[in-house]
Assembly symmetry: none
Homo-oligomer: 193 residues x 4
DNA sequence: CATGAATGAGTCTTCATTCAT
DNA sequence: TATGAATGAAGACTCATTCAT
């Protein structure tokens, strides 16, 4: 009542953290609320005090892990420097951020697929955020750095490749330091002789 | 009567078909064997007569839907024509085949993620099959069609973009007739002015 | 209301009581948890709230019915009076106690056989407890009441006969008031002319 | 049709043998007909061709293992020699025969308890057979070898002790060569100084 | 004699959720 | 806030048994 509660060790926070971890690793349907409360060291009624239902808990987990992408895209769209540099920077942070937060990645992947898990309008959010990268290309076109063309397809190639790099990295494959530069370079120069 | 039974409406086949459909749409954990047998018009003991367990059923579903990719890649690697044409052909069949078999796509996606669903060595198969497309680029390099470079990254850009096109298509977005040509063209020419 | 709950009609107690009764009469494997909870007027989740599994429930039933024997043997070993009187007293209480608690007898018999029912280290406990009766004979030998000899075999004859009397009694056969005296008398005097 | 079938490897015989083994080791309720037919290398319809039901199969198993006791008692009652020698001989064969056929012992024990397993009138048969040993004592009384007395109790002491020796032996405890002589000697002479 | 295929009812166990305290 | 206790429904899986061949 008196102070803002920022207690990271509160029951609610522990539940959210453990739920995120479990939903990410086992999926939504395969994770039971019993597992969650045991991992969080609480009881079921406490969980239901803070969250309306298992579905609601999942939604909040997703929401809490959805913050980073928009900022990342903003940075690329509004940042300084050439389009090329900003694309490289975006890919680099996107992939390395994902590698450092594997649970977030898996959770959002699960939520995006919509095959397991309650249906959320995450995919649209996700797609449209990534789609905004086309603005970077448009800016590059405006400055003469990039020739006119199908920016949407270009963004898809970059992001699709980045996803593959990210998932491979999560599976243990090494991610070269300059992977982002190489991808963007390839996109810029093309492969034709 | 006494001949080989090719009855596609046998219990086993119906179970496999309905299980594939349900696993694809709801995920592994969220699909109950009761749902499967009710959809297949059989009983649980019959399911367990043909399949060792729910896990085993899932595995067989995946196996049965895994056939196409290898052939597709073979066609691209061993086919006639320029590297460019073969890449375009591959992407076209890959995406349009996926659009016509949404359940297969979702099932394999689920199996590949491994977050829901029993852990299968599908991802490696999948990745290595797609990786073989690099051979097409190598052939193009040999014929002078393509300049030397990082073929693996190029393949990832193509396949990553194709996946995005495919999933967007499955979500209802229109897939242009010439999407494959445009993607490959972009990859060949690059976006740099 | 706020005091210590000694409610013998609590769910846990009712489950234990009914489980003991059913396990004793039908055996472990032939008794279903559904039967137990229906007899106890509860639900299956409640049973699993208090007991880890059907096995665990059985174990607790056995444990709860295992109390009496040790005290009985203690009484015989440490009691006052001649060895003969103490043997007679033991046999009498052993058999009549069993006749008044048929479920306990059958449950422990089942647990002891180990053919049905989860394997418990009850048999050893049981055997070694009864074996302690040899001390009574040794005391009798020390006082000159009993001649030196094979006390273990003597105990086995007494207990074996008592078991037969007990099971016959449970089957409906009458148990004479002086059966214990007669058995011990026979053991003391022998049958030889 | 032509010859008497004594084929010990026929399906029926294999089923009986494996069923006896399994019923003896796991109990009636805990043994499934699937286990039986798999152990016997047959199929369920074959089992039901030969036996009316699981109950019937159990009954036949018991019947097939019930042969020896009557003959054993006959031998003791009608045999030559002193009562003492015949009692010793009976106990010896009873226990050693049991030690060599542990499955038979456990099966009959299960059937006798009637707690698991369908209810059979085996116990009465068993008891009355053993009860006939009292005749041996009566003969001994007639020849002056044994003094008049409670022969039934004497028989119970012998058989009860023998059962304990037998079960201890099945549990791994050594059975001395002269256990029978010692038991009978104890019964004859008594333990009193 | 033997079998592949099938089943209704049942097994043990756990689910997400809620109540009184 | 938090909890011990409770529940209806459902989970995966197996039971004894049977039928057409």
């Amino acid at each position: 009542m008196a102070l803002v509660m920022m207690d990271e060790t509160g029951s609610r926070e522990r539940i959210l953290a453990e739920a995120t971890r479990l939903f990410a690793r086992k999926g939504f349907a395969a994770t039971s609320v019993r597992e969650v409360v045991e991992a969080a060291g609480t009881s079921k009624p406490t969980l239901y005090y803070y969250f309306a239902s298992k579905d609601g808990l999942f939604r909040e987990c997703v929401q809490a892990n959805l913050g980073g992408l928009a900022q990342l895209v903003d940075l690329a769209v509004n940042g300084a420097g050439s389009a090329r540099d900003r694309l490289v920077g975006f890919l680099d942070v996107y992939v390395r951020g994902g590698l450092q937060n594997p649970d977030t990645v898996k959770l959002l992947l699960t939520a995006t697929n919509g095959v397991d898990a309650p249906c959320l309008p995450i995919l649209e959010t996700f797609r449209s955020e990534l789609g905004r990268l086309a603005e970077v290309l448009a800016q590059g076109e405006a400055t003469g750095e990039i020739r006119p063309g199908d920016h949407t397809s270009a963004v898809r190639m970059l992001c699709g490749a980045a996803d593959i790099v990210l998932f491979s990295g999560l599976q243990g494959e090494a991610v070269p330091d300059d992977f982002a530069e190489r991808l963007v370079d390839l996109l810029y120069r093309g492969i034709a002789r």
